[in-house]
């Protein structure tokens, strides 16, 4: 087998998480990642409103804080103080759990995303990732597929037909586009691995891009496009936000939600955007890699922080793209969505996989 | 020669298949012409085979041609290897000659006779198949092939008797012939099995030296074959089928039931004559059976009203003569009589056929009479045949019959008084023969006409007439041409005797005695003929009155000794009773078992079907129960 096969022989005593990192370190990293994400989300909300205003040639929120910078805080406060409405006859537990699932899965995805390379400090090499698990990408997929439960259940538990329809749409959409997502991901794995099997680890995938200096988006442009579109669908972003399509379904799955329960859905959606962007950046845009930012250059705290900065910059850029698309494209009709997913995305992703396979076999990558 | 022999077999078979498969599309005389052409060709081939054999030195006069290996069973001593092939020797060629010769004439005759019949193609197809079977019987390389032909001719006989299967009489007669023949076949089969057991072979070629050397044979072995011969050649007690077989078309009676098939029994005895000679008292059985049959059938023939039945009983009677000859060891004489009989009996049948044809199917002698004015040619031809049958010099029958009687007397003269009895029976039969022949001829052609006045009898058309003329000539000169013992002119004997067993008893009389006996027989025959002609000639009424108010014995004759009734009482009824018992057993027990099995499974399936109730949970439940059982088994 390949020498790159870095998956360690399973130690049955400690099978789950990386033994090299002690608990406190993992906790610390978790807090850091959580903090970063939770910072990004309000920023994103603000950016969305400001960018949309900018694109539509209007002002947008500019009263709270400097240039409206504290607007998200105000929104938060508003949500916290609103009454928690619960429709009659809903299963209380599921009604409450649904937004939590949406938020938690989205946030959890960040755990496997490497923000940078390895920090060598005090005789200890610390990977800049909460859990560099062997099955990294698969974990992302698994979590994203769990995430759909939040929306679906929210829709069902609301005991309302708009919500139910939203939930239904959500589940159908997820399943349809998850296929494309998975196959596009496969093409990356194939291309990255060459003739031998490579790795599921995101850090490893980034390292390969860094080694070759060519990001996967250049190797697999079609795969990149497909993955991005599928990621849009997975995060229910326009033009695929049918589960919450206001004109038809009022608010879709979150019609009946208010106050912080709604806030959690909100948080989940934006966190999913962040996570999706991060994953795309890792898979296709080289992660923390940047030309001339080699391992030799990036040493110590400075190097690590630079890598993190590069990574965050890429993520932010991609998030901008997310927002930009939202305010550019009209929403698809439901049948268009399905046709597009099954008749275009899926065949194209298979084509892409074929291309990747041939390329890997012939050593193009 | 292989080619000739092969063609001799293939041609009839191919023609039978051709006519059987495509005959329906042929119209008018076409099937008959085709069949006749084939038969004539076969005759030519037989002549060729005869000439070939004649050209060979006497001890090498045989041809064995194997076409392919048919059976190869067992191994070592138990091996039975049979070829499909042909065995040509003087005996088989003689038979082939007259079978094809007389056969072609009858084919020719049939063309006209069957012209207006529905399904003539079927008739000719059967006829061709018969010819094939007969040739296989005669020419077959081994006894099994002979048996094959034996069964084949039986089948064709059945088919042809029942040709008019719409008539119940015909269908019944066919069935009767078939069943009675089966009894004989059992004897044949037993003989064959026994022969193979004793000698390990059934091929004629291989049996030739064995039979030449054999000195003692179990008499029952020979009698097994004789039983077979009795069945086929209509001897006591298996003769009952032959008169009934007259239900078939008349040419069929001529061909099968007079000239050829019925002589198959004689052929078998001649073919195996060394076995018969070596099985001492078997020959006596043959002789006595033959003599008894001859007398018996001759008696019955006295009082038959159906012209064909008269001829049929006469055939049985003449066959009895032949077996008498065999039994006396005069195998050559038997063959001689077979040939002359083939000529004149075929002639008589065909003539009778012409009469029947002219009278539109009338067969009752009492409704004929005076026909010699309407059918002079037929009358002339039939008279020749009748004289031959009656044994009047110089017609063919005289020579062969007289030879047989001479042998019988010679053996008595040589010191076996019982042979005088046989001779006496023969002479008596000869007298009867002359008498009933005269009766038949007179009733038919002589006297005043009793024919239905609406009918206008006319001469037979040309093909029929030709066949009659040819056979008439043969009946007149056939005997003298083939042999006259008293003058030591015996070409047939010279030809055929080498392949037959030597007679175990003396056969020659002093010339003076011989001539004397001949004159006596001649006188008896002429006298009997005169009486018969006188009795039935002229006014018909007294004769009819005499026959109608017959005393007891004559009633017996009219009733044909009530043999059929006897059989019905002794055999048919008990058998029927047993069969009915079996039928009941079959219905109640066997069918009950099968029906029971059927209804049981139906019941079972009805019950089991309940399990398929469409409820998924029931299925699941039983699945789980099954799993429990399997697991228990696995753990136990």
């Amino acid at each position: 087998m390949s020498a790159l096969l870095l998956l360690p022989t399973v130690d049955p005593a400690e099978p789950l998480l990386d033994a090299a990192s002690p608990l406190w370190l993992t906790l610390l990293k978790s807090v850091a990642v959580f903090g970063i994400t939770m910072t990004l989300v309000p920023l994103l909300v603000l950016a969305e409103r400001r960018v949309s205003a900018w694109m539509q040639y209007r002002v947008g929120p500019n009263r709270v804080g400097i240039g409206g910078s504290l607007q998200p805080m105000a929104d938060l406060v508003k949500m916290l103080f609103k009454e928690e409405l619960k429709p009659d006859g809903v299963p209380a537990f599921l009604f409450t759990a649904a937004p939590a699932i949406a938020a938690i899965t989205a946030l959890s995805m960040m755990a496997v995303v490497p923000f940078g390379g390895t920090l060598e400090i005090a005789g200890r090499s610390i990977p800049l990732v909460v859990a560099d698990v062997d099955i990294g990408v698969l974990a992302v997929l698994a979590l994203s597929s769990i995430g759909v439960y939040g929306i679906t259940l929210g829709g069902w538990a609301s005991n309302s037909k708009y919500s139910l329809l939203g939930g239904l749409r959500s589940s159908a959409q997820m399943i349809s586009y998850e296929l494309t997502l998975g196959i596009a991901l496969l093409s990356v794995l194939v291309a990255a691995s060459g003739p031998e099997f490579g790795s599921f680890k995101l850090s490893e995938l980034i390292a390969r891009q860094a080694e070759s200096g060519i990001w996967n988006c250049f190797k697999l442009p079609l795969g990149f496009v497909l993955f991005t579109i599928a990621a849009f669908a997975e995060t229910n972003r326009l033009p695929f936000d049918l589960p919450e399509a206001e004109p038809e379904l009022v608010g879709g799955y979150h019609t009946e939600y208010s106050s912080m329960r709604f806030g959690l859905f909100f948080l989940g959606e934006y966190a999913a955007m962040v996570a999706g962007s991060a994953v795309i950046v890792c898979l296709f845009l080289g992660g923390w890699h940047f030309p001339y930012l080699t391992k030799e250059v990036a040493v110590g705290w400075g190097g690590a922080l630079t890598q993190v900065a590069v990574f965050l910059a890429k993520v932010l850029a991609f998030l901008f793209f997310f927002i930009h698309v939202r305010w550019t494209l009209p929403r698809l009709r439901y049948d268009q969505l399905m046709n597009f997913g099954w008749k275009w995305m899926l065949p194209l992703s298979l084509l892409n996989l074929l291309f990747a396979g041939i390329g890997a076999a012939l050593g193009w990558f | 020669m292989n080619l000739v022999a092969g063609l001799l077999l293939i041609l009839p078979l191919a023609m039978a298949a051709l006519l059987g498969l495509f005959g329906k599309r042929l119209h008018g005389k076409t099937p008959g012409l085709l069949a006749f052409g084939m038969a004539a060709t076969c005759f030519g081939l037989a002549v060729a085979a005869f000439l070939h054999l004649r050209g060979l030195p006497e001890e090498a006069r045989f041809v064995e041609a194997s076409f392919w290996r048919w059976l190869d069973l067992g191994s070592g001593d138990q091996r039975l290897a049979l070829d499909v092939g042909v065995w040509l020797d003087p005996l088989s060629v003689t038979w082939a000659l007259f079978v094809t010769g007389v056969g072609s004439l009858i084919f020719l005759y049939s063309i006209s006779y069957m012209e207006h019949e529905e399904g003539a193609w079927r008739y000719f197809s059967y006829l061709c198949l018969f010819l094939f079977s007969m040739l296989i019987l005669v020419l077959g390389e081994n006894l099994v092939l002979t048996f094959l032909g034996w069964e084949g001719v039986g089948l064709c006989s059945y088919l042809l008797i029942g040709f008019d299967y719409g008539k119940e009489v015909a269908a019944r007669a066919g069935r009767k012939a078939f069943v009675v023949n089966r009894i004989g076949d059992v004897g044949f089969l037993i003989g064959m099995f026994w022969t193979w057991k004793l000698y390990g072979t059934l091929g004629h070629g291989e049996m030739k030296p064995i039979m030449a050397a054999v000195t003692a044979v179990p008499p029952l072995l020979a009698l097994g074959y004789f039983v077979g011969a009795c069945g086929k050649s209509a001897q006591l007690p298996l003769f009952v089928w032959l008169p009934d077989a007259m239900a078939g078309p008349t040419p069929v009676s001529a061909l099968i039931h007079a000239a050829t098939m019925v002589t198959a029994g004689i052929y078998l005895v001649l073919r195996l004559s060394p076995l018969f000679v070596a099985a001492e008292w078997a020959l006596d059985v043959v002789a006595w059976t033959g003599a008894a049959t001859a007398l018996f059938a001759g008696l019955i023939a006295l009082r038959q009203r159906d012209i064909k039945r008269v001829l049929a009983y006469s055939t049985v009677s003449q066959l009895g003569y032949m077996f008498l000859a065999c039994g006396l060891g005069a195998f050559g004489a038997a063959a001689f009589h077979v040939i002359t009989h083939a000529f004149f009996k075929a002639l008589l049948f065909l003539g009778a056929g012409a009469v029947i044809h002219a009278l539109h199917g009338e067969q009752d002698l009492w409704k004929m009479g005076g026909l010699k004015h309407h059918l002079p040619k037929t009358a002339r031809a039939m008279t020749a045949g009748a004289f031959a049958l009656a044994g009047i010099f110089p017609f063919a029958g005289f020579f062969s019959k007289d030879e047989i009687l001479g042998v019988a007397f010679a053996q008595g003269y040589a010191g076996d008084p019982s042979r005088y009895v046989l001779w006496g029976m023969g002479v008596l039969t000869a007298a009867l023969t002359a008498f009933y022949t005269a009766r038949m001829m007179t009733l038919c052609f002589g006297g005043t006409s009793r024919v239905d006045p609406h009918l206008h009898p006319h001469e037979a058309p040309a093909p029929m007439a030709i066949a009659l003329q040819v056979l008439m000539v043969a009946s007149i000169v056939g005997g003298a041409a083939l042999g006259f013992e008293a003058l030591h002119w015996m070409p047939l004997h010279h030809w055929i005797d080498p392949v037959l067993a030597a007679p175990p008893h003396p056969t020659h009389l002093p010339p003076a005695l011989n001539w004397g006996l001949m004159a006596l027989a001649m006188m008896i025959a002429v006298l009997a003929w005169r009486i018969g002609a006188k009795w039935y000639g002229g006014d018909f009424a007294p004769a009819r009155q005499a026959e109608l108010t017959a005393p007891r014995f004559a009633k017996l004759l009219q009733g044909r000794f009530f043999v059929d009734e006897l059989y019905a009482l002794l055999i048919v009824r008990p058998l029927r009773f047993v069969a009915e018992l079996c039928l009941e057993f079959d219905r109640r027990v066997v069918d009950g078992l099968f029906r029971g099995a059927g209804s049981f499974s139906a019941l079972l399936s009805t019950t089991v079907r309940l399990a398929q109730n469409g409820v998924v949970h029931a299925y699941a439940f039983w699945m789980v129960v099954g799993a429990v059982l399997l697991l228990t088994l696995a753990l136990a």
């Binding site: - | 998924v616 949970h617 439940f621």
Partner: protein
């Protein structure tokens, strides 16, 4: 090191619960879920049995099982949909068209 028998017992229990669900429930959907449960129990056995020998092979077999489960679910759910379209119900005991 957890003894293999524990895994096997656990899988037996899961399997049994699956059977129980299958035989006792009438909702076809829940019956399908029970089947899934049984398949999962089988997978546990595959992996547990392969752990001490060739773990990769156990995983490969389990993968086949998962593929089969996916196929089964696709067809099964389509059946349920068709059934519902006909009957407006998914209760298994209301469908008896297959009886003899």
């Amino acid at each position: 090191m957890v003894p293999q028998a524990w895994y096997l017992l656990l899988s037996a229990l899961l399997f049994g619960l699956g059977i129980a669900g299958f035989v006792a429930r009438r909702n076809t959907l829940v019956m399908f879920m029970s089947v899934e449960l049984m398949l999962n129990a089988a997978n546990v056995v595959f992996l547990a049995a392969a752990r001490d020998h060739v773990p990769a092979r156990g995983s490969a077999c389990a993968l086949f099982v998962i593929a089969v489960a996916a196929a089964e679910v696709a067809v099964g759910l389509a059946l349920v949909l068709a059934l519902f379209r006909l009957r407006k119900s998914v209760q298994a005991d209301e469908v008896r068209e297959l009886r003899a």
